[in-house]
């Protein structure tokens, strides 16, 4: 068996000039300097306390940072980053730590800048539909703040009650309602960013189309590799007049998928279309008793807008579901019922714990029309490997969340589950889709990047990275399978001796 190296430091080793920053031992003097910025209570450096920060929501990668800093202001972030720049210390910004791709995984001997203390909503401007926040503000708190005036903040990742806006910006978070409302990037108008050299820049702004390159558009979703956002200008959206949620039970995900295609073909743009297969329904039922009908494929369709419009369209949706073989169709009759329907869906990942001791949450995207084909492939692979897969989808935009279930105590199961999980991503790529729809590449999917993109594509992205972070200090080991040195033309590819010997492969 080949040994796969994803540890970038391995490749840094033979490029001695870049390894310097990873090898720098942070001296006590530097630590004292950092402590002076954030105060005694803003610095964590004891191993016991550091454990909390050694991973994010993806717990199978763990790295102990040298220290965690909890700044209170943009100025403090700048001071910290300037020292990092001077001393060549890599840093990783962190929000609530709910990410599922290891994006906030610390870098060895580096520091973590935790932004949880920068959690103020700075400005709420209803006439202009703008809110200005610090990065540590919790996603749902933005909606909480503007709800009395009947506004909401549209991106709604499942973790919205604990995840932070800063983290959402890093990952370009989506959620169930991005089918209609767009992603984080749609709702971020401007950013204040501390660049990796400690300087402060403003990208975008309160008004649209600020002159120059759309660097705000590049920054959102860059997974913390281009700097640290310290202020974010968000757009808020007026609540629609009504919201209607329908549940339809189908014999299998195939019929449910056909209904989705027909809804889209009818020219509708629902606020959300979610699908769950039988295993996912069972788990959600066991966990939160959402009162879902038992079936092979469950569809949740939500329409919003003016009452007359929504009611006319809901009649069509009903008809489409029925003609595609829905055995049961239910409308949520009250806000409480609607909330319960969504609770089941949003709890689906965590609910897997009810039916399996361990599981992997996968995140891939396929063109919607490839759904039946990809589903039957997943089913075949699952049977072949003897590993169960539960499926939860944002069906409207083809975003799959297969949950690969296994039992770590059974020898070989974890490996089989991991292998199956990466095969699913290969299916997504082969279908013309993407390796991640909303969880990000982070540490987890660097290898898959080379399968989705050609070398010149990745090379070009890294050139952009070099413009922001020539020393590669900001979350340096994420996204890219093979880091590039800035200011150097990529030379001939020289295989590492271990690769030539066939004991390692590069990704």
């Amino acid at each position: 068996m080949k040994l796969a190296f994803c540890e970038d430091s391995f490749f840094f080793l033979r490029k001695s000039r870049t390894i310097l920053h990873l090898d720098t031992k942070m001296g006590f003097q530097t630590l004292d300097e950092l402590r002076a910025i954030v105060g005694e209570r803003g610095l964590i450096s004891s191993p016991e306390e550091l454990h909390t920060y050694e991973c994010d929501g993806l717990t199978n990668f763990r790295v102990m940072p040298r220290a965690v800093l909890l700044p209170n202001s943009t100025e403090e972030v700048q001071k910290i980053v300037r020292i990092c720049h001077r001393e060549r210390i890599p840093f990783v910004a962190r929000g609530s730590g709910t990410g599922l791709s290891g994006g906030a995984l610390p870098v060895e001997k580096g520091i973590v800048i935790s932004l949880t203390r920068m959690n103020r909503i700075l400005e709420v401007d209803f006439p202009n539909e703008r809110v200005v926040v610090e990065p540590g503000v919790i996603n749902l708190d933005v909606t909480g703040r503007v709800a009395p005036q009947e506004y909401f903040y549209a991106p709604d990742p499942s973790s919205q009650s604990i995840c932070s806006i800063g983290g959402n910006v890093a990952e370009n978070s989506g959620g169930a309602h991005c089918l209609k409302y767009g992603f984080t990037t749609t709702h971020v108008l401007g950013l204040e960013v501390v660049l990796p050299d400690g300087s402060l820049v403003h990208l975008g702004g309160k008004t649209l189309d600020t002159p120059g390159y759309d660097l705000a558009g590049v920054f959102v979703g860059s997974e913390g590799t281009l700097g640290v956002a310290t202020k974010i200008i968000l757009r808020i959206v007026k609540r629609p007049e009504c919201v209607r949620t329908l549940l339809a039970a189908f014999p299998s995900t195939n019929e449910a998928g056909a209904a989705v295609s027909d809804i889209i073909a009818a020219g509708m743009l629902p606020a959300a279309i979610e699908m769950m297969d039988n295993l996912a329904i069972q788990a959600a039922e066991a966990a939160v008793h959402a009162n879902y009908p038992s079936c092979g494929g469950l569809l949740l369709v939500e329409l919003d807008g003016p009452v007359a419009e929504v009611e006319a369209l809901m009649t069509d949706v009903n008809e489409i579901c029925r003609s595609n073989g829905a055995s049961e169709i239910r409308m949520a009759q009250s806000e409480a019922e609607r909330a319960l329907v969504w609770k089941g869906r949003k709890a689906a990942f965590a609910a897997m714990g009810r039916i399996s001791p361990n599981y992997i949450v996968q995140d891939g995207v396929i063109p919607r029309t490839a759904l039946p084909r990809v589903m039957s492939e997943i089913d075949r692979l699952s049977k072949e490997a003897g590993v169960r897969v539960a499926n939860v989808f944002h069906a409207g935009d083809g975003n799959l969340h297969p949950l690969v279930l296994y039992d770590r105590r059974i020898p070989g199961q974890e490996e089989a589950a991991e292998a199956l999980s990466s095969k699913i991503l290969e299916l997504c790529i082969a279908a013309g889709g993407s390796i991640t729809g909303e969880h990000g590449v982070g540490e987890d999917k660097k290898k898959a990047m080379s399968k989705m993109f050609a070398e010149p594509d990745l090379e070009t992205m890294q050139r952009v990275r070099c413009a922001f972070d020539p020393l590669q200090l900001s979350n340096p080991t994420k996204i890219f399978p093979t880091p590039r040195l800035c200011g150097e033309k990529p030379g001939e590819y020289v295989p590492h001796p271990a690769e030539s010997a066939g004991i390692a492969e590069r990704y």
């Binding site: 600020t210 120059g212 007049e241 989705m452 993109f453």
Partner: protein
């Protein structure tokens, strides 16, 4: 190559010229004429590659020897930038005009940069779909040109701008690299969002060769209304009330000028039942008697603004302001135009983007634009002067890019270190 081409292109090294011809064919390397001028700067050649890789190779050769390249689509917005510092030849995408993959059931399309917007829309309409965008001059304007100039119109209120519609792009960089980013699915966070970087970059980072868009269904029905307002204050009050209401309008724009009282157009799309209900709601919200049904051709308002008779005495600017500064902006435009003895009219979208036409003496135009820019930038806004008369004293098209300018220059340096593409045409001398 004919004699004219030879003499015009005499500035180009002859071996390079032959390389171009060998690459793209004799008939696709022609001498530039006065019609190919870019803001008063005359290029020597027009080169029309037939494939993405030909285009990338032409670019690489030019970059190697330090020629300045002006990318061009339909050529409708060549004036939307500062005069180029250098311009050796025009690199036209006219022959890259294929619709590569129209996955209608997935609501996406992959299209080459030289395809016109109109041809694209006609193809999409066959499946009842559209690119939900209303750029000016769709009959000539191309996908690549519209992306590079970030040209969106009234539909932006509902569907977002190009940055919200583009999901993938392939770009030819000056070193000959063909780089793709994004993908063919709407939801995708793998890698940097470079489609957004090249959108609105005026071709200064790379030449867009193809793009992938998300599509929307054509509306089942649509209805448009015109609402008359007494003055700027009342217009703003109406617009903000609509924005703060539960109406689900597709677009909302207001006209104002020195001659007529302001009025607003509002467009609804949807089911018959939904449209009827929204009309009632609109009539309840507006001043009694101010609402009348209008034709949906109101979407052409921006082209009307651009249909001026005398380019030598007209300036057109795109402005961006906070939506709640609308009345203040209307008054500012009126005051400034009057002070400089200029005629003016403007179109303001509810999301704060506006288009202003000023007519009068070139010197006065410059003075007015300068003053307006100062005021708008002071309120977090901007003014970009997209059309200036030839005789108008020099005036930077873009205005300030703020403290991010050094970063923008660093991005330019990484992708186009020799300033091969559109040198000097973009913000801050980029």
């Amino acid at each position: 190559m004919d004699a004219a081409t030879k003499s015009e292109a005499s500035g180009l090294h002859s071996s390079l010229r032959y390389k171009f011809i060998a690459l793209v064919g004799n008939e696709f390397v022609r001498a530039a004429t006065a019609a190919d001028t870019i803001v008063g700067v005359q290029p020597k050649l027009v080169i029309e590659p037939g494939t993405e890789s030909e285009l990338a190779e032409v670019l690489r050769l030019s970059n190697e020897v330090g020629l300045a390249v002006i990318p061009r689509g339909g050529g409708t917005k060549l004036g939307w930038g500062n005069p180029p510092a250098r311009a050796d030849f025009i690199l036209s995408t006219a022959r890259l005009n294929e619709i590569i993959e129209y996955a209608w059931a997935d609501l996406t399309v992959t299209v080459e940069a030289g395809c016109t917007i109109q041809r694209l829309q006609e193809t999409l309409a066959q499946h009842g779909q559209r690119l939900a965008l209303d750029p000016v001059w769709p009959g000539k304007a191309t996908v690549g040109g519209v992306l590079s100039t970030n040209d969106s119109g009234a539909l932006r209120l509902r569907f977002g701008a190009l940055r919200d519609l583009i999901i993938g792009a392939t770009v030819a960089l000056p070193d000959g690299t063909l780089a793709s980013s994004g993908g063919k699915v709407v939801k995708n966070v793998a890698g940097y969002d470079l489609p957004k970087l090249v959108t609105g970059a005026l071709g200064t980072l790379g030449v867009i060769t193809r793009a992938v868009f998300r599509l929307h269904p054509l509306p089942l029905n649509s209805r448009s209304f015109s609402v008359s307002n007494a003055n700027a204050e009342e217009t703003q009050k109406f617009v903000l009330a609509v924005q703060d209401s539960k109406l689900a309008h597709t677009s909302l724009q207001s006209h104002c000028s020195g001659e007529n009282p302001p009025n607003s157009d509002i467009l609804f799309e949807g089911t018959e039942a939904g449209l009827a209900a929204q009309e009632t709601r609109l009539r309840n919200l507006a001043v009694p008697g101010s609402v009348s049904e209008a034709s949906t051709s109101a979407l052409m308002a921006r082209e009307e603004l651009w249909a001026f008779s005398d380019p030598a005495s007209t300036a057109i600017a795109k402005i961006s302001v906070l939506p709640a500064n609308m009345a203040r902006t209307m008054e500012l435009m009126e005051r400034t135009a009057n002070a400089h003895q200029l005629r003016w009219r403007a179109l303001l979208y509810a999301m704060g983007i506006g288009w202003l036409r000023l007519e009068g003496k070139p010197g006065a135009l410059r003075g007015a634009l300068q003053e307006l820019r100062g005021e708008l930038e002071g309120q977090d806004g901007s003014l970009v002067a997209l059309h200036r008369p030839d005789k108008m004293p020099a005036f930077d098209v873009w205005g300030t890019a703020g403290d991010a300018l050094p970063l923008m220059k660093a991005v330019k340096q990484q992708l186009d270190p020799k300033s091969t593409l559109n040198p000097g045409r973009f913000v801050g001398g980029i």
